[in-house]
Symmetry: D2
Subunit: 289 residues, 4 copies
């Protein structure tokens, strides 16, 4: 059966992303790490790169605490045009410096088709943010660069739409896609979004792609980040995207949901215990070696 | 400070249910068990009591697998008047017989103020279902019987409204209330509801009452019950409400979300491992003894 | 074909409420008025009956402005046990006095199966509130009294569930059911609920029962009540449920969404013009006579 | 007070779009028409430009029926990469030909920052689709072209976010923005989305910008398009976006929600009557002349 015949024979609306098309988990190799295998990864950093000093400090802190990837936004999608919009290319340079200093691969967002080549020069993993999950031009553009893509679920998007958005990237020739649950819009307003953890085992059943969870955006409240991180890993997540800030009250964005480095260190330990209980491991833990 | 002064001084809309009013976890003692302490309880059984033979079989199976409470509906709230409505008092008698046979305390629902005394004669824990979470007459009535109440969150209810509904029961003189997250209505339609696990740590922070999770109704799909059970316990749940049926395809209600006894046995083991990873325990496990 | 054969032959989950079962609109006759025919009815009054003086004043005002039915709650479902719960039977007596004074038939809510006979002695139309839409015991009880029932959609209920709830009443022998759209829970938080006006033409297509709209609860903001009243009538509603209060800021409940009598008088005029534009009429207007 | 001082003095999160900043309605003049004034505009056409013959036929039909603007997609955002994606620049050329043939100004979508100059050469009004409401790069780009922008509300976006997205365009120097309600994601699944008509009067109170409504996408079912069009105009909408197709069953997208030309002609008449009932007018009707 040719690839085309195989694709055509698949009944579900998503083809290349489906388990029917590919039974084995997709493993994504970045900077000596594997996402989608036995390891549970901690991708940490501040929401935005605010300054060189601020970001190098947080980068060192999350590295020391056990993070395996570094996140930070150089281009920030902000609801208000009057909010801090990111440092742009200057931010990308700081990210690269932080990578050099810590050895941690970098995850950062691209919001504009025209910027994909520039961001791809700096980033190890290109993030397509929740608001752009269905900007099909961006999906087609990131499909063309030979780097892994972290695709976040839109707050108003169904799981099916998330998988169809990933399908655009795979059809475009890039099968290194990591999906990310980060909460959906519901009537509940004690939390910023409702973190839909059912999506994790559901996607694992429907697709071969890795899935990570962002409990920082998903809850919007730092005291919920630890319990929901544990829950995400217990549900089968391949990693966590965690906001860490040395001084959350001064953060230029998302301070309420950021953990202090100390709390993040504790989270790494706690999550490691849950990971072991479900047969997984934090990179570097005794079990996986 | 008098009790009334204390209540008046509390700023939040919920008073008696708040952590501000009572700092220590409320422990609910039923049939030799404690809900709200270190143990994580498995409350299992079929959605409805369908017949004597059917229910005694499932009761024996869940007891053998490690359940500590038995659930089953004698009065069933059904969307359609043409669906099976439960065996009524005959169902209560079967529940009592199953308790005698297994030693497991019984959880069953009451849907009508007039039936509270009758159901309370049979039940060890009275369930107020999701559709009646804000039937304030039922809340006032179950406040008067001296038995614990399991209060399920309505699918369209906020966490605040759930806590306010519990407040009705505490104000009525009954502080033995167990809250239950069972999924909310959202736009996502791969799952029957969206299980809002963030509610677990949030309620734990706001209130001293125990919280359990119903992943069977919350997801509506049995393959999601195990991962979401693990996640619920990792998030801090004090127990799980699980539907088990010896023959899910023949179930008179909720067959798609029921586990076979074998799968439930495996769930008890898996959940036990996660419980230990967060410092908790399934009753009878080595750690807690 | 016998009635039973006819019912069995209907494919949709709702049988007796469906257009397939009964093609003509159900006309409900109360106090000389017809609901479900050409007339668009204004059912107005304060949310709660607060006192004799307060309610007689608002009753006279809404009568004078053109309302054809009087609404007021004697038993109030309140989220908090610390909020005003209504005057109970005393409130029913005031409602009866207001009816005698104005000639307007009364709509009032029943929240408890045990109170159905009492409320039915006073009310012309029994209201089953949104929180009790799926309290099947109440539905069965109001089916037994020979009076029309106003059934409000639950904020977390689908249109299908609303129609199935009505089916309980029709199966119980009472086909005088008026459905009411009053807003659903969504993520939008500028309004109290999201008034789902699509439900009006949809229910009209699926069912023969009359449908009215409650823009006061549905929006929670009085400046939206006039435009949404117009929109409801343009969408095909058979009536409107409007909260009016002589002194909204002092209202014991729902002050923010109550109209002053003057604004209500204007609403009657404006709604009358839209009614005529869609071939309907406010009772007493020239066209219908 | 300088403009900057005025902006800073505004308390709400949206500044330039607010009524506080500008009290009078913004009037947008395109092709001899005014959007935001007394006229209610009908913007009609097929979802996608499928072929020259198909589109010229539908363009002639909607013109004859009374439409004042022509809509059609040359670049189509589709959930699946396997669905028809539009004719791209060829589609723009057909749109221009249809404009020449009918005299109707053209509304068409732009999905990619790089295509803004190209689409702006053909379009009279540039549409930013629901999925891109928060693609801030596109918002900044359309702010730079001197043409009106039709900004559709995202299905997961709050009214506040819609207004903040418009703020990006006004801050960028373009105040010719038309907002469009097209339904939000909710749990109700009889309709494709829930058309939130409350947003119309709410936005009118908060902002000076015109608001139109898309009942075709908002309901996803053609039998609901007429009643919801009436309701939208009764709620205060400045226009309607209606899908019309000569052969809905063959439509390459959105056939279920498209009206036949005959039904659209009837809609224009019916909407005209509701418009007059609220003091508005369809262009060309006697009242406005």
């Amino acid at each position: 059966m040719s690839v085309i015949e195989k694709v055509i024979s698949i009944q579900s609306p998503f083809k290349l992303v489906s388990r029917e098309y590919k039974q084995d988990n997709t493993l994504i190799k970045v900077g000596g790490h594997v996402i989608g295998g036995q390891d549970v990864h901690l991708i940490a950093g501040s929401c935005a790169v605010e300054s060189r000093a601020q970001f190098l400090e947080v980068a060192a802190a999350v590295k020391e605490a056990g993070a395996t990837f570094l996140r930070g936004g150089a281009y920030k999608p902000r609801t208000s045009p009057y909010s801090f919009q990111g440092l742009a290319e200057k931010g990308l340079e700081i990210l690269a410096e932080a990578r050099a200093a810590t050895g941690l691969p970098i995850v950062t967002e691209v919001m504009d088709t025209r910027l994909v080549p520039l961001v791809a020069r700096y980033a190890d993993i290109l993030q397509v943010g929740a608001r752009n999950m269905q900007n099909f031009s961006i999906l087609q553009e990131v499909a063309r660069v030979g780097k892994p893509v972290l695709l976040k679920r839109g707050p108003g998007a169904t799981i099916k739409e998330l998988l169809m958005a990933a399908e655009y990237i795979l059809v475009g020739g890039n099968n290194q896609v990591i999906l990310c649950e980060r909460g959906i819009r519901t009537f509940e307003n004690f939390t910023r979004y409702t973190l839909d953890l059912s999506s994790v085992p559901l996607i694992k059943q429907l697709s071969h792609l890795p899935v990570i969870v962002d409990p920082s955006h998903g809850t919007g409240k730092w005291p919920l980040v630890l319990p929901m991180s544990r829950a995400a890993v217990a549900a089968g997540a391949d990693g966590l995207l965690i906001e860490v800030h040395s001084s959350p009250c001064d953060a230029l964005s998302d301070g309420q949901q950021s953990l202090l480095p100390d709390k993040f260190r504790n989270l790494v330990d706690e999550v490691g215990m849950v990971a072991r209980a479900v047969g997984r491991c934090i990179p570097g833990c005794g079990v996986s070696q």
